[in-house]
Amino acid sequence: MSKTLNRRDFIKTTSATTVGVAAIASGVTLTSFAANDKSVTNAKRWGMLIDTNKLTETEIDGMVGACRKENGWGSEVHSTGNQKPTWIKKLKVQDKATGKITDLPLMCQHCEEPPCVDVCPTNASMKREDGIVLVDRHLCIGCRYCMMACPYDARSFVHEDLTDQKEHMPRGKGTVESCTLCVHKVDNGESPACVASVNSDAVIFGDLYDANSKINQTLKKIQSTQIRADLNLNTGVRYSGI
């Protein structure tokens, strides 16, 4: 220890230690991955069954509120009337003969043959393998053909600059949007926000193809319908009681 350190020794020791520390540091990399690192496949088809007889008007309002809160739409200040985004809405239908009024929630029906995907000039409007119909805003040019093509009036256009979006749901001016079936939640094994907001089994969400799923079993038992079934779009959202 009493040896005097000359310049050469100093450089040798310093560089050796630096290389050593750098080697250790480069070995420490974060390689943890979330569970859903696999692509979705067409072995599943997500769907929803809405029983309008069991569903109350308050519950439908609750569904709309839950969607709004989850996805962060509905607080646009500059958009007027029809410009305001509506991902899900409460609809009243009346039987002309009897006058019976039924309330139902209407959102993107996640068609198997979606007209919005057919008309999109940029492939922004797309259907995932598992049947969820989405807008890829990276490609969307805001032409709104899909809004015209949709028989359910399910899509909206963002007319104003937005800030403070939800981190799981990017939204911005000049793009079209609609119900995503809460795809960020579904990919994590959860139910969409609107389904979770209803306490009864009036709204069931699940895999239409899975013979053991509640939605599959219920659809086998009860009478259900698709809205505008005549269009042969084979919707993922089904209704009973209308």
Partner: protein, 125 residues
């Protein structure tokens, strides 16, 4: 004794070089973390647009939701917090993480007309 001193100094030097090469200032999670997330800073600096473009398609179209190369992850780790207000600075604000380089090389990105610019409440990757 001298050797010990040299050892200490060289460790201090290499740590400071590592910090400086990351160009991380402020009090973001990334600046405070001792964990090394990216294999190479030069690679991520040059290739991050390609990584992000690839990842966005994987996530949106195929439902692959990993934290690797996710824009949400960039924002969560690299957003600086204002000491006084305890609020995050948006990453695209002037002289913040994303905009410093983009300003310098005159690149205008369109990520943040849709994506959130600060970590969300209870932010995770």
């Amino acid at each position: 004794m001298y050797r010990l001193l040299v050892l200490f100094l060289s460790i201090a030097l290499s740590v400071s070089i590592a910090q400086a090469s990351n160009d991380l200032s402020g009090n973001s999670k990334a600046a405070q973390s001792t964990e090394k997330y990216h294999d190479s800073v030069s690679v991520i600096r040059k290739m991050h647009p390609e990584f992000l473009n690839h990842k966005r398609d994987k996530t949106l179209r195929q439902g692959v939701r990993t934290e690797e190369n996710s824009l949400k992850g960039c924002v969560n780790c690299h957003a600086n917090k204002d000491e006084k207000t305890n609020q995050y600075h948006p990453v695209n604000e002037q002289d913040q993480f994303c905009s410093t380089c983009h300003q310098k090389v005159s690149v205008s990105v369109d990520c943040f007309s849709c994506h959130r610019t600060t970590p969300g409440k209870g932010a995770s990757l």
